[in-house]
Symmetry: C2
Subunit: 598 residues, 2 copies
């Protein structure tokens, strides 16, 4: 993976140009490289060797505590020591001032080595980063800083047993804690009661405290929760009570572990049902304004979704690398010759078989294409935060549009890559003696959490492509046109340029046609096929852009990327028509089927 | 599932017409129905309740024995009592004289309830059926009869650690056991040495003995194994030695359990590495002629592959049914209205959401379509064995052609259905508290065993479509034309008839074009996309044929099938072009990518 990451960062995304910006001025290509070196090394040494162990020794509850393998404690401690929790923060906050794209690339090595271990840190960073933007000075000093240093870890408490995708139905209540609730040093103080489901890292003994960020509703004047998402506010609820200086008071807060979820994968991470306020109310400190909770959460959702996409991506890469290794060493069968197979010939490594190469090339196209997509989006985050106004606005707009793809595409296609990795291993891949079955299990979560495929589709077709009267889609089309123009002028790439051009036209047509003469519900009934078609067009674009960048090179690395591009255009891009035709035709089959027909 | 099975058997495949044949003359529609009733009931009572338990309490080795849960012993005993092991055998052999299609349908209920428990019986029946065709009278009396009665169970020992798909590399040796090896009452007696891998049911204490059917090579005159598959013979190797009357002699045969495989799914079934002849040689009795072993195995391979396809199918059905139930009862979210969502409206059951219906309809189209395919193929087996000469020949030819599809299509698309079943359940589907994640894990095996996807593709494009100068494909095209002609004359179906007609033309074109001007290896490098495109055309045909049969009906059952057909034509059939264009264009990307590019 490292060579591809280096190429994507240095040659394709030209991260060197970020060094001109004031916030990154202390860095150099060498410091970027040494962060990547450090993370790659640490992940290989401290995370990878325990990935199977954390899968088999699931968290369990004993003597009132959640027990994790010792190896998780050690790995997490090493990670904390690396300083990566605060990688993108400023030095004043104990950070490294790294660009987001470098942080994403560096942390990807940990996710690849063990997603089950790395989840704890990912959530903590996301939690602290949110507080650094939306918290008060005291909240930053107490709750963010102690997470960025790794003294405490954090969670996101969004879902409830009855409300997963449907956030407007959140039932957790927050009521002002006494008359003087506004005068607490840590922020407006509330009493929370409710149940939160699917809380990753929701309980453990890895750190002395856990900082929950909790969505809850403050009752309106009539004492009832406000319907819809408008009533949702955001609260900091520590597992153990702390004082204004961040010292533990010795009292526990009213947050109790109601159950551990036993999942198909991601078993290294505790996943909890938490009850808030079983004994009267958990103390929570409001973040920002009442009723703005979802906005704050969504402020970080783009980054969270890119992180989910990156998790899916590196599981894809891990399976790809494992199956390339296996295919090079596993000897079986013979190549077909003109006169059939020669049984007296020596068997060959299975990488010699065309269908094995097909499965490897598909994995490469899916997983390395996804890697390009995630890093492209991460680069847009940096543009959004540090570029000049117009560029930043453009980057933000493009990021909004691409985020549903960055979340959904790897979660679908790197899962498929993991299935192909099993297939390359044959029967062995179906056993727990090899890593690939765990990759496949771990990856299956990514189409579900942080917004399901269905939610991403509706976000894309129902909202994103129509933002600013379609400005985001026009911007994307313009970027793709640029790639098409470059590629069209290069030997051997012009045919791909034409294919991509046609695909974009089909996408634009389907986008427009999807709404003609139908209701929103009707149009959105095909949101997932639209998402799938859109995603394949984006990936074809990225692959062609990469091939364009590598056009002059003839080494094996460059040839591999060019073959992956050719695979994508020959085998994958043509699928776009099947998805988009449904959308453009406003086919209503799935909406119209009566519920009693199943 | 039962209503669909009844419709497919009675209305679509008209099994009643089988009653005219002498071998089935003792049966009636009532006896067919009562076998289905009995199996459905028994599977629900004795298999289904233990499916999760056999997944979590994996077989293990203790005190020299393989330990299985008590529940497996009980379930298997109830199954044996049902007499289904010998369902298709004649009464003289203790059987029920059932048509194969009825047996397949009836046994499908057990596979659906617990594939991990039912594997033992499936293998035993397949083993005994082979011996009933190719064994001597003594072999039938001792080895087949004792399996058909359930006193002993059986296995198929084909793969070896170094030879999975590549059977020509089998290294297990069989040498004549003494000068008088030809005079044993149980058949020519050999000494076997070698290692067999992936042996399902390879060891257990469910029955007093285990009958292994083992592929091994008899050394040639030079003492060396004959290269290729020509040298392979078939042997009966009992776990414990028996005399000519089938009584245990009290001596164990030289077959030892070298290890249990720990799989991703199918955990209820022991899966073993067996060593033959560690102490000098295991006694084996040759079946049939030397060098014909693979032919005998393949004689039953069509049936075995339909059984694998059926296993994949019913896992798809199980996930479909579970997710329909969940979608009807899980309440979350609101339907999109013209003015956006109304947050004050009550939440609805998720089956009201269009994207959930899409996922249910896709599962229905995949799994019920697969069910039709498997039963259609099983019906062809009956035609092949009991119809008049010309019809039997036609059925045999068509069966040869469709078998790779019957094996591969459900293993790919009912796995996809299982993934959609998880998705319908959201986060809950990703936990082990629900059945759907186990379906998905169990189903992943089916693309691997009994011939991988790659093997099926090569069988189809390299051999089957060219049999008898393409006679099988012409026959299939003629059958499809018949459906097209019927459908074209029916209101509301003619557009689908045209689409199917075009798809068949594209298939015929790709079949022809795949070989023009290229080598066999080049042509076959696209065998899997060909297999996928071919499969989708076949399924579209079956769905249209079913819709034609139901055309006059307007009840919910019929409407459900019609919507599944419409879904298949709108969402699935268009994918065919993407697969077949690669084949027709003789795209060589996957063959040409150099191994050092990965």
């Amino acid at each position: 993976m490292r060579a591809t990451v280096d190429f994507l960062l240095n040659d394709w995304l030209v991260v060197e140009s970020l060094l001109d910006r004031e916030c990154f001025a202390e860095h150099s290509m060498e410091t970027f490289g040494s962060v990547l070196d450090m993370c790659e090394r640490l992940a290989a040494a401290e995370f990878a060797p325990h990935n199977r162990l954390v899968d088999t020794q699931e968290p369990h509850f004993a003597n009132g505590r959640v027990v994790l393998p010792r190896e998780t404690h050690v790995a997490v401690a090493r990670y904390v020591e690396s300083g990566m929790l605060a990688a993108t923060q400023e030095e004043a906050a104990g950070g490294m001032c790294l660009p987001f794209v470098i942080e994403m690339a560096a942390n990807a090595f940990f996710c690849k080595a063990s997603i089950g271990i790395s989840n704890y840190a990912t959530l903590t960073t996301a939690n602290a980063n949110l507080l650094m933007v939306h918290g008060t000075e005291a909240q930053k000093r107490v709750f963010a800083a102690n997470q960025l240093s790794g003294r405490w870890f954090g969670t996101m408490c969004i879902s409830e047993p009855q409300a997963g995708s449907s956030l407007s139905d959140i039932a957790t209540r927050a009521v002002p804690d006494g008359e003087e609730f506004m005068s607490d040093a840590l922020g407006p103080r509330y009493c929370l009661t409710g149940n939160k489901m699917w809380i990753s890292g929701g309980d453990h003994e890895l750190t002395e405290n856990i900082v929950h960020l909790v969505l809850a509703k403050i009752p309106g004047a009539d004492g009832k929760p406000v319907p819809g998402t408008r009533g949702i506010s955001l609260f900091i609820v520590p597992k153990k009570r702390v004082d204004a200086e961040g010292c533990l008071t010795g009292e526990s807060n009213d947050v109790s572990l109601a159950g551990l979820n036993h999942k198909l994968g991601h078993r290294g991470t505790t996943n909890c049902l938490l009850n808030f306020g079983e004994q009267g109310g958990a103390t929570g400190y409001r973040v920002g304004a009442p009723g703005e909770g979802l906005k704050y959460m969504f402020h970080m959702m783009n980054e969270a979704r890119i992180r989910v996409g990156m998790g899916a991506t590196v599981l894809g890469v891990a399976g790809y690398e494992a199956s390339v290794d296996y295919a090079r060493t596993r000897v079986q069968g013979r190549r077909a010759a003109a006169a059939g197979k020669d049984a007296t010939a020596l068997p060959v490594a299975i990488i010699e078989h065309a269908d094995v190469r097909r499965m490897l090339l598909a994995q490469k196209a899916y997983s390395e294409g996804s890697l390009a997509l995630q890093l492209y989006c991460a680069r847009l985050v940096d543009e959004q935060h540090t570029a000049s106004r117009r560029q930043a606005d453009e980057a933000g707009l493009l990021l909004e549009l691409l985020t549903p793809i960055a979340k959904s595409w790897p979660s679908e296609w790197c899962l498929e890559a993991n299935s192909l990795a099993i297939q390359v291993h044959g029967g062995y891949g179906y056993t727990r003696d090899f890593a690939v079955e765990q990759h496949w299990r771990d990856n299956r979560l990514n189409m579900i959490h942080e917004g399901t495929h269905g939610v991403q589709g509706i976000d894309l077709l129902g909202r994103k492509v129509h933002l600013d009267d379609g400005a985001a889609l026009r911007l994307l089309a313009a970027r793709i046109s640029e790639t098409v123009r470059h590629a069209a002028a290069l030997d051997g790439l012009s045919e791909y340029a034409s294919q991509l051009d046609l695909a974009v036209a089909a996408l634009e047509h389907a986008t427009h046609a999807s709404r003609v003469g139908v209701s929103a519900e009707e149009s959105l009934s095909n949101a997932v096929p639209y998402l799938q078609g859109f995603g394949h067009v984006v990936l074809a674009w990225l692959w062609l852009d990469i091939a364009t960048r590598l056009h002059v090179r003839t080494d094996a690395f460059a040839a591999g990327k060019q073959f992956a591009m050719r695979y994508f255009f020959a085998h994958e891009l043509p699928k776009v028509k099947a998805w988009l035709d449904v959308v453009a035709a406003r086919d209503m089959t799935t909406l119209l089927v009566p519920a009693d027909c199943f």
